[in-house]
Amino acid sequence: MSTPRPTPLSSYLIVYAVLIILATMSLGYSLLHLPGGLVVSLVVASVKAMAVLWIFMHLREQRISSALAMLLAVLWIALLGGIMVTDVVTRRTFPERPRPTGEDGFYQR
């Protein structure tokens, strides 16, 4: 297997600049209260995380097995989160009951 060239200094600095720009854009988008803020900020966060993984953490230089460990973790997270949220969103009680409001004794002060 051929080892890729070690990451040059310029790559680190470019990735850092991109991370700062993306963070500032995400902040601006949130402060303007534009629609779909949560989705946009999570997509931007995923791009930032991939940049950190690929360049700062040298995943580009690693064997495929290391990338596979990370990929599997992400898949498990998607599966766990997806199934759990689907359950919460679609669960119905018969007869229908409202969401807990804290006044049922579960949360009192």
Binding site: A23, L42, L53, R63, S65, M70, G81
Partner: protein, 209 residues
């Protein structure tokens, strides 16, 4: 320059470094899964109380959270450059960059502490200790309970990361790493980058509306 020890189960140092790296990546994946349970809980409660969550986020301490994001991103760059410097045979520069990373990590904890004080004064505490009169909703209570657990677990990881960075600095001072063999340094900094990645996701969930 001391040569790293070769375990008897490995045929050469390259194979040993590869195995260590793979083990580290599996460990990082398991750490992400630990946080993912809390992310899933967050997603569930947010889908149950969307309006309360948005209101709680709008009242959260954005300045502190954002300052900490920029701080962690910069510290992550320093940690990556520490490995870069070692690869070029400049251990003194590596040591300086590791020290800078540690200072930034401590700065993160100081800002986090100041932020916690604000929440304690407001009464935005977890569970039944919550008594913030400005946001009396049950959803806001859920939000701040999650906020404390998620940022608390993250702060524990920052503290562990700082210990790892301190240990790496000692090893660099002792001349334990060289241009060819610095797998320990590489893996220690990987842990710091993981701390950074977790905050990259916590920031939009806890501070951005």
């Amino acid at each position: 320059m001391p040569k790293p020890l070769l375990g008897e189960q490995y045929s050469d140092l390259e194979q040993q470094d590869g195995a260590l790296q793979f083990g580290m990546w599996v460990f990082l994946g398991s750490e992400l899964l630990l946080f993912s349970a809390l992310f899933a809980l967050y997603a569930s409660y947010r889908s149950m109380y969307p309006a309360d969550f948005e209101q709680a986020i709008r009242h959260n301490t954005l300045v502190y959270g954002t300052a900490n994001l920029y701080l962690l991103l910069t510290s992550s760059l320093c940690a990556a450059l520490a490995v870069w410097a070692m690869r070029r045979g400049r251990p003194r520069l590596t040591l300086g960059l590791l020290a800078t990373t540690i200072v930034m990590g401590l700065g993160f904890l100081v800002i986090k502490g100041a932020e916690y004080l604000v929440h304690i004064r407001e009464g935005a505490l977890p569970g039944r200790y919550y008594h913030w009169h400005e946001l009396p909703s049950f959803g806001a209570n859920r939000f701040y309970s999650l906020y404390w657990v998620m940022t608390g677990l993250h702060a524990l990881h920052v503290t562990a990361g700082l210990c790892v960075l301190g240990w790496l600095s000692l090893r660099v001072m002792k001349g334990a790493y060289s241009v060819e063999h610095h797998a320990g340094l590489e893996m220690g900094t990987l842990y710091w980058h993981l701390v950074d990645i977790v905050w990259i996701f916590l920031w939009p969930l806890l501070y951005l509306s």
